[in-house]
């Protein structure tokens, strides 16, 4: 008995030894800075050559300033939200469709997969900037094509506007989908083919199989891909809000830019929470209900 206890303790000790580096790093480079920037955000910070940082408490001033007298930052936040609202569903749907195409019995799957994954390797802030903005004549020709003109003429403005925006950003949407495509493909390949065969024998159409088998099985992947997509969009170097936060460090000071960082952080957390709730919750309930219905029969 005693021996077992010491074994347990020993195991715990070994575990702590292995993750010790991480604990130190977390305390030093994440937890402490988190508190510090929270503290900064409620202060006016002046940098003194000799004494270092001088902080004077200013209450919510930085936060109020951000919302009342910083239209550039607010616009950037709005654009960030708009980007998430446009990109996230499209990236998820498109990468799911591409993964399903790749999951068919086709030749050259590896090749196509490699092509679709390529942007993950090369897309960085400056490269996207140079590539997408310079091949802008492509997107403009895409948006000025006859098809889009027709769409603009036929549809009311509130519909044609978003469609135009989506076509404009199509390349970026595709370029941001590489990891998600691979995740979905891995998820699809984990589904047992026999389930589809059984459904087929019972007379289910491919359409029904998709809604009843594929989609529920992919639920965890949809969640992971969504979180990945949001984090990627929120930390991408071209994000205007991030540039403003960094820019403010050396103009309005550490206090104000800390407040901006915290506002941004809370916004990202809200978006993540909302998406996690949307994807995880209603599905779960619906399927539990359906399960019960089947039990009754």
């Amino acid at each position: 008995m005693k021996r077992k206890l010491t074994n347990k303790k020993r195991e715990a000790l070994a575990g702590y030894t292995f993750i010790m580096v991480w604990i130190i790093g977390f305390l030093l480079l994440n937890l402490f800075p988190l508190f510090a920037s929270f503290y900064y955000s409620f202060n006016d910070i002046i940098i003194d050559g000799e004494k270092g940082l001088i902080a004077t408490f200013s209450g919510f001033k930085n936060y109020i300033d951000a919302f009342t007298s910083d239209p550039i930052f607010l616009t950037a936040l709005g654009n960030y939200l708009l980007d998430v609202a446009i990109y996230l569903p499209l990236i998820i749907i498109i990468s799911m469709i591409i993964a399903m195409l790749l999951n068919q019995k086709i030749k050259g799957r590896g090749f196509f997969r490699a092509v679709f994954f390529l942007p993950v390797i090369i897309s960085s802030g400056p490269v996207i900037d140079k590539l997408i903005s310079q091949s802008g004549d492509n997107t403009s020709s895409l948006t000025s094509s006859a098809m889009v003109e027709n769409i603009k003429n036929i549809l009311p403005a509130f519909l044609s506007g978003p469609i135009e925006l989506i076509l404009e950003k199509m390349i970026i949407i595709l370029w941001f989908s590489g990891v998600q495509i691979v995740l979905f493909l891995a998820g699809l390949q984990k589904i047992d083919r026999e389930v589809y065969e059984a459904a087929e024998i019972d007379g289910a159409s491919p359409w029904e199989s998709f809604w009843k088998i594929t989609l529920p099985a992919l639920r965890p992947i949809i969640l992971v891909s969504s979180i990945y997509t949001i984090v990627m969009l929120s930390t991408f170097a071209n994000n205007e809000a991030l540039k403003i936060i960094r820019g403010n460090m050396f103009t309005t000071g550490y206090g104000y830019s800390s407040a901006l960082a915290w506002i941004y952080f809370i916004l990202v957390a809200l978006v993540l929470g909302l998406i996690a709730l949307l994807i995880a919750q209603p599905w779960k309930n619906r399927f539990e209900k359906e399960d019960k219905r089947y039990v009754k029969h």
Binding site: L29, L101, I106, V268
Partner: protein, 309 residues
Amino acid sequence: MSNIKREKALGKARRFILGVRFTDGLIFKLIIYLLLISIGFVFVYPLLHMVSYSFQSLEDLLNPQIGYVPSRLYLGSYREAFRTLNYFKTFGTTLLVTLLPALLQTIVASFIGYGFARFEFKGKKLFMALLIATYIIPPQVTMIPRYVMYTEMGLINNLLSVLLPASLGQGLYSAIFVLIFYQFYKMIPKVLDEAAQIDGASRAYIYFRIAVPLSKPSFITVFLFSFVWYWNETYFASLFMGGGKYDTLLLKLLNFNSAYEKVFGDDNLINEGTTMSATLLIILPLLIVYFILQKQFIEGIDKAGITGE
């Protein structure tokens, strides 16, 4: 008789083209290939555009009749891009500030992932939750105090400002890498450890002699992604190491226009060809690595994706 035969053949052909349930017919296949090829084309379109423009002279670029095929192979853009980027020297710097943190991060992530996967201890769930939190929290929140800290420690414009977080498991996307290792080490049966322990092996011995050799594929994946992501990182690099001493290729691309003016003077206007050549030169090393090792990249994500829960 021949009628029946003909009908049979017709049926066969029909089945071949449309399939029994459509999804196994020829038309369906053709549609799939058509879709994949056209989507693939949109994917590589920006790259093709870049390659084409990088070989066009100014006259070609301005000539509306010349679309994507240059009238002659023009290398002037590459010459200009090479000079502006100071390519070979910058390439060396980039390798230094990319390979070192990637290497450190990989080793440390394996260590941490092993600790989480193989041992039971108090607070493990909490630590893992915090680990995931470090992935979700935008690094901008911790950036300013880190900057203050590094300034006090004299780490600004110092290679250590990248190496320190990497070696403490708090580098670029460290949490993902720890989770990849965690996922892998979880799969090694514990019996293996117990057997080795009975034989008198120490924990360190087990880690280095059993776990590390088994996890070679994970090491490769993590290192590759770490390398690529450090290569592509500009936001923090420009803040912590933007003093000029550690200008990476991508930092040069970020300020390419002003760098060009410095080299060629204000009155020489930069053209699209030069920008495209520079971009191509900068992603070329990544393209080569990807071309050789694309299986490792993709399969790594494949396996890590199962992290699902």
